[in-house]
């Protein structure tokens, strides 16, 4: 295969030199000056085919992007053409082992290709001859670490999926565990019991509050009765006397009017008109009296005076109280919604025609639920909800709203009646004014007297009217003092309500009781909310459990769980079975989650070992994994060093006992005597060559259609003396046997070809001249490796 390389300068104009070509010979001898890009070309070829040549040389890696622009590599074989383009400006300078995709692009026979597709057709192995045994081994461990890292990346997706599946399985099993529902229902029950206890505590307090209030009212009435009562009684008596006197005056005036009317017969027409107005006045007075009586009756029923301002003020108060009570009622209705729905659901079931107790309504967890059992469950639930106290408060508020509505209606009627009374009185005054106006036209003494009599009648009527109202109001005021009760009756009421001995500080007791009741109400409200939340939680747990069971039992994707646990019978599981399942799933998840850490620990141990063996650092503190990795590597190396080639070159053909990578020494026997030598002592060209030869022999052979390129870089130390013959034979044998497709041997310039060409003649001279020209032109020459 023929390889060509081309590196462009970067934006800053920097451009590392790189050789232009590796020719298409099975065995290539590439000889040239230093610093012309021989090794660089091969390293880029390694990068393009998935190798990591800079793993042990981070410093060189970091400087590359600043030293050149894009690199194009073309590899042309008999049936395959590879075109690589590397983009150093995109590389992560901090990571010599970054993903292949970030390095650049690859095309195989014109098609964009993945690393796997490239590697199926082209594999590059580079063995660096300048490394001693320690560095070569260190690089080997770093390469292995990189392989483990790539493997970890390849399984990360499946590992994450497995962990997620187990996590979900743990959640489903947990949701299906009936102990959660039992615990939630226990909480609900506990809250209900607390609610009942508080309600029971509040009930006698409310009774005591009612009694204390009655006593307080009676006491206030008693005090009022004892204070204003005598004055009011005296007033009533006086009003009664004055009313009698006014009534007598009125009777007299009526009699005078009748007599005077007869005398004024001659002025019949005028008199007739006066009589008509008189009649009108009388009718209107009767209507006014009727209106007044109605007002007084309504005022008495409403417990009010007939003052319009007082009535309207109370109406405003009632509107405010109705608003507050309605708001509280609405708030309770929201929290009472479940009870209402349960009650309504029962009613709906009763109304459905054709339902019998045995009728199946629905299936729950695979079992039928009939109407009788569902109705029984509804009744039980309704009774439970009734015990929370919300329903009682709702009833009390409803009663309060009804009372306020009735009072408002009564007061509205009273307000209207007061308006009517005012109007009627205005009508009477209007008729009296007409009468007076007509009287002015009369000159006769009879009419004048008639007018005077009329005035007297009016005055008597007005006095009577006023006194009647005042008398009624005085009586009403007296009745309001104590509701008509006597002092003795009121004292009896106080004693009956709270007992004679505890009536001293009724206000203080009332305050204390009110505070306690408010506290209990708050606690009941809080309990009600908690119970509601707990019930919702309980229902949610029940639903989640059913869904979890259905998911695990019915869905195909959980077949693996059913294959390992008796999920089909999960609804019959004992608590211990749930515990066991949780334990097993958790421990399985630990195993899955441990994959990342354990594989990472192996990678770390290999990297650590590579650094240590290369002589670049100490081993980190031992862990079980690092100990195992080192033991395995020691065992593998001991076996590798036992190969005849290495044994012959390094240990005089003796058997290697053990390689100790912790102490970096090798043990073997020589003529029966135990021998020991540090790894660093195996640094001669001969010894490194022996190891390199072993590595060459371990290169996997090419797959079908695959080209395997072996590059021996910086092998100047190996071409002296008989090693060159050995190496040549080995490489030819590898190519000939098909174990390697192509070999490139890179060496530094071995002589001054310009000078030697001058002294040579014939074919040898031509060869030297060609090499001298090539070196002068591009700094190197590449030609088939000669047989030696």
């Amino acid at each position: 295969m023929r390889f060509t390389f081309k590196a462009a300068p970067n934006d800053a104009g920097a451009q590392l030199p790189i050789i232009e070509e590796i020719p298409d010979h099975p065995l290539v001898w590439l000889e040239g000056r230093n610093a012309i890009g021989k090794s660089l070309a091969v390293r880029f070829l390694e990068l393009a085919t998935g190798g990591r040549p800079y793993l042990n040389n981070q410093a060189a890696w970091e400087t590359l992007p600043g030293s050149l622009g894009r690199v194009k590599i073309v590899a042309q074989g008999a049936s395959s053409k590879f075109e690589f383009e590397l983009f150093p400006e995109r590389w992560d300078r901090q990571a010599a082992a970054q993903s292949w995709e970030r390095l650049g692009t690859a095309r195989v026979n014109g098609a964009t290709s993945s690393l796997d597709e490239v590697r199926a057709r082209l594999r590059v192995h580079r063995i660096a001859g300048e490394e001693g045994l320690s560095r070569a081994l260190g690089r080997e461990f770093q390469t292995q670490a990189e392989g483990v890292r790539q493997f970890a990346a390849a399984i990360a997706g499946d590992q994450g999926t497995a962990s997620d599946l187990l996590d979900e399985a743990i959640t489903l099993i947990d949701r299906a565990d009936p102990r959660h529902l039992a615990a939630a229902e226990k909480i609900v029950e506990s809250l209900r019991e607390s609610s009942i206890r508080l309600s029971e505590e509040r009930s006698p307090i409310e009774e005591r509050i009612a009694a204390v209030r009655a006593a307080v009212n009676a006491k206030a009435s008693l005090e009022s009765l004892r204070g204003r009562g005598p004055d009011l009684l005296r007033q009533i008596s006086e009003f009664e006397e004055q009313l009698k006197e006014a009534s007598v005056r009125r009777e007299r005036a009526v009699t005078s009017l009748t007599q005077l009317a007869n005398k004024a017969d001659k002025e019949a027409e005028l008199t007739k008109k006066l009589e008509q107005i008189e009649s009108l006045i009388s009718r209107r007075e009767k209507a006014a009296v009727k209106a007044r009586d109605e007002v007084m009756d309504l005022a008495h029923r409403a417990g009010m005076t007939s003052s319009p301002d007082g009535v309207r003020s109370r109406l405003d108060e009632i509107a405010g109280e109705i608003k507050d009570a309605a708001a509280r009622r609405s708030e309770l209705a929201r929290s009472d919604a479940v009870r209402v729905i349960v009650t309504r659901l029962g009613d709906v079931l009763d109304d459905v025609p054709g339902l019998t107790d045995a009728t199946t309504l629905f299936d729950l967890n695979g079992g039928p639920v009939d109407r009788a059992s569902f109705s029984a469950a509804l009744d039980l639930r309704r009774r439970e909800l009734d015990e929370t106290g919300v329903a009682q408060e709702v009833d009390a508020l409803d009663r309060r709203l009804l009372g306020l509505g009735e009072e408002r209606e009564l007061l509205t009627t009273l307000d209207s009646a007061i308006d009517v009374l005012v109007h009627k009185r205005e009508m009477v005054v209007e008729a009296l004014d007409q009468f007076e106006e007509l009287g002015k036209s009369l000159e006769s003494g009879a009419v004048k007297k008639l007018k005077e009599a009329r005035t007297q009648l009016n005055e008597a009527h007005a006095d009577s009217e006023r006194l009647t109202v005042e008398l009624i109001e005085a009586r009403h005021a007296y009745a309001l003092l104590a509701g008509g009760a006597t002092e003795l009756e009121l004292e009896g009421r106080i004693a009956a309500a709270v007992g004679a001995s505890s009536s001293a500080d009724l206000d203080g007791e009332s305050d204390t009781l009110e505070k306690r009741r408010e506290q209990l109400s708050r606690e009941l409200d809080s309990l009600s909310r908690e119970a509601h939340a707990a019930e919702q939680s309980s229902a949610s747990i029940r639903l989640e459990a059913a869904v979890a069971v259905q998911t695990m039992v019915g869905q195909a994707e959980w077949g693996w769980l059913r294959a390992s646990l008796p999920i089909d019978d999960i609804e019959k599981w004992l608590p211990s079975q749930f515990t066991t399942a949780q334990r097993v799933l958790s421990s399985s998840q630990q195993v899955v989650d441990g994959v990342v850490g354990q594989v990472g620990a192996v990678e770390t141990a290999l990297r650590d070992l590579g650094v240590h063996v290369s002589g670049e650092g100490e081993l980190q503190p031992a862990t079980p994994v690092s100990d195992a990795v080192i033991d395995i590597c020691e065992r593998r190396l001991t076996q590798q060093f036992g190969s005849p080639e290495i044994s012959s070159a390094l240990f005089d053909g003796e058997r290697v006992d053990r390689v100790n990578l912790r102490q970096l020494v090798i043990f073997w026997e020589h003529e029966g005597q135990p021998m020991l030598r540090p790894l660093s002592a195996f640094s001669s060209g001969e010894q490194a060559f022996a190891y390199a030869r072993a590595l060459i022999e371990q290169i996997p052979p090419p797959g079908e259609g695959q080209h395997v390129l072996l590059v021996l870089d910086e092998f100047s130390a190996f071409i002296a003396g008989d090693r060159r013959v050995l190496l040549s034979r080995l490489l030819r044998e590898r190519v000939k046997s098909g174990k390697v497709s192509q070999v490139v041997l890179i060496v530094p310039l071995t002589q001054d070809y310009e000078t030697t060409a001058l002294a040579a003649t014939g074919k040898a001279g031509e060869t030297l001249r060609r090499r001298a020209d090539a070196v002068a032109s591009v700094g190197y020459f590449a030609e088939p490796m000669l047989e030696t």
Binding site: G147, V148, F151, A152, I155, A162, V602, L695
Partner: protein, 61 residues
């Protein structure tokens, strides 16, 4: 010679480390099988293994 892009050497090494009986050997063994066997089959087998293991007594608190 390790081929860095091949998964086989890594799998072989991980299997050997698991066989050494290190803590977390189950995780390493599972890792080597993740790319070769169906996940449901692996999970079912893992759970079956855990079921067969005796319950470790809890340390007194």
């Amino acid at each position: 010679m390790i081929d860095p892009a091949s998964k086989d050497p890594a799998v072989g090494l991980l299997r050997e480390v698991a066989a050494a009986g290190v803590p977390g050997e189950d995780s390493l063994r599972l890792a080597t099988e993740l790319t070769t066997r169906p996940l449901p089959e692996l999970l079912a087998e893992l759970i079956a293994d855990q079921l067969e293991r005796p319950v470790e007594p809890r340390a007194p608190e």
